[in-house]
């Protein structure tokens, strides 16, 4: 099969990336954060880049995942796998719900409806103090251990062990999403993004496909939200704030729409810049706003595509040199 080689290459590349990342940036926590938000940005890219659906409801999935994992971890003696499973179910359920209502309309209405759902989620979380801790959030969220039959429990209390856990989940979910976007299902999404009417005319039930991709997006975004809460040992109300949707959207756009690797780059650049610049100047987001405008005006492919173009150029130049040498 012709697909195996690139698939293996992707896997190797991702594994190399997660090994090198903490070595390069000297902070396991920041590296963990990058992987977490890369997953969330990929969740956004599945909708916007691959299916043409601009969703402001991502905060709902992210925050929903964070709350789901936290509530379970705080109140019950469960294994990590149960927490992950529950998070995924909650993420999918929320996404199907939001998807079901929002895809009744297209274009700008769709966007506004997802935004309204995001806001609804925020205010609902604010109200439901018994479950979410309201304004204070949920404190002391434990990192539950992975309980396996016949084996000792695996704990993730140190930064490095939690980074390893995040890396494993990151590589698995990115590989899965890479599979999804190149699958027959992914091809239908491409078709829908480019010409919804034709997709329906050749026999695709467009609405079902949109709900299905919402489910994928909800799952990966909720997982990232859950990991974030476990990382912080805390699930603040701001996890479900509209600003989270914005942040995720920016990472996704900055890195490049329609590219999974773009989203990883976008998240990394965003968080590194934030880490570096926010120390120097608390209003660094002003520059970010400007950057987003520039990217959308002049480089829609985002950083990833620009990087690829530069690589091509470099290759060309090197190629010419080689010829000269001969």
């Amino acid at each position: 099969m012709q697909n195996t080689t690139p698939f293996k290459t992707y896997a190797m590349g991702l594994i190399a990336f997660v090994i090198l990342l903490p070595l390069l940036i000297h902070s396991q926590v920041l590296a963990t954060e990058i992987l977490i938000f890369a997953m969330a940005a990929i969740g956004c890219n599945l909708l916007l880049g691959y299916s043409g659906l601009l969703s402001f409801g991502q905060s709902l999935f992210f925050g929903g995942g964070a709350y789901a994992a936290s509530i379970l971890s705080i109140n019950f003696d469960v294994s990590l796998l149960t927490v992950i499973g529950f998070t995924l179910i909650v993420g999918i359920a929320l996404a199907v719900l939001v998807g079901f209502f929002s895809i009744r309309r297209q274009g700008i209405y769709f966007v506004m409806i997802t935004l309204a759902f995001g806001q609804l989620g925020y205010y609902a979380a604010f109200l439901a103090e018994d479950f979410t801790g309201g304004e204070d959030g949920l404190l002391d969220v434990p990192r539950v251990a992975l309980k396996l039959p016949f084996l000792p429990d695996v704990h993730f209390d140190t930064d490095i062990s939690f980074y390893i856990l995040t890396s494993v989940l990151f590589v698995l979910s990115v590989m899965l999403m890479q599979l999804v976007v190149n699958s027959p299902f992914g091809s239908v999404l491409q078709a829908i993004r480019q010409n919804e009417n034709r997709a329906e005319a050749i026999g695709y039930r467009v609405k079902l496909y949109k709900i299905a991709i919402f489910a994928f997006s909800g799952a990966i975004t909720a997982l990232s939200g859950a990991l974030y809460a476990l990382m912080l040992n805390f699930a603040p109300l701001s996890n479900i704030d509209i600003e989270i949707s914005e942040t995720i959207l920016f990472m996704c756009v900055l890195g490049g729409l329609g590219s999974i690797f773009g989203s990883i780059v976008g998240a990394a650049v965003f968080l590194l810049a934030s880490d570096f610049l926010s120390e120097l100047w608390p209003r660094w987001m002003l520059i970010l706003g400007f950057l987003v405008i520039l990217v959308m005006l002049y480089a829609r492919g985002g950083l990833w595509a620009s990087l690829m173009i530069m690589l091509e150029r470099a290759k060309e130049i090197l190629g010419i040199k080689e010829k000269h040498n001969v």
Partner: protein, 250 residues
Amino acid sequence: MSSSLLSVINLTKKYGDFYANTDVNLNVKEGSIHGVIGPNGAGKTTLFNSLAGSTKPSSGKIIFDGQNIEHLEQYDRPILGIGRSFQVTSLFPDLTALENLRLASQAQEPARGFVFWHGITRKGFGQRRALHMLHRLGLDKQAQTPIKALSHGQQRILEVGMALMSEPSLLLLDEPTSGMGVDDIPQMINLLKQLREECTILLIEHNIRLVTEVCDQVTVLQAGKVISEGTPLEVSQDEKVKTAYLGEGI
């Protein structure tokens, strides 16, 4: 005499107070090429959309192959064996010609579109059938060309090819020669003549030459109503048709 593959009975479509189609009756015989003509604003496109499922009629029936289909969604119809083309070329512009056709083929098995765990080149997902169709359309060389890089004529041909991927028993063509240069039209006429061997065709057309050359039966619409029906020759001699087209030049 062969039976009707498609029957339209008292089909009416209104938008508010405006009647786009009023009590339209139509029978398309199996194996024939049936043309629907009429001056601008006669309600041809509305009728076409009702048949293709992109709008729902206000009242009346559409019977295809013995089955009521007027209530069915657009996406149900290709699977029943009704293919459609668009008047304004409507393809997936960034995808290759091959991928466009493959998608149309894959759609025939609704569950396959939800397969997310392997690639698209697997057997059974339309790759091979799409290559066959490209060959048949004479577009082998363009297999890996994105649609937006194809010529207008090639896009029109592919437009018909998309509808053919469902192996339709009824093919609905919305002005197949629309926007085509005079030189390209014979190619389309040839394609249509070839196609009549394998399916029934209903087409809406402005180009009278094409209608008289390929159609067995013609229905003429004016102001949403059927005003004449018959062979191209009979219709062209009908006084009502001449009056309707007066000023348009038949």
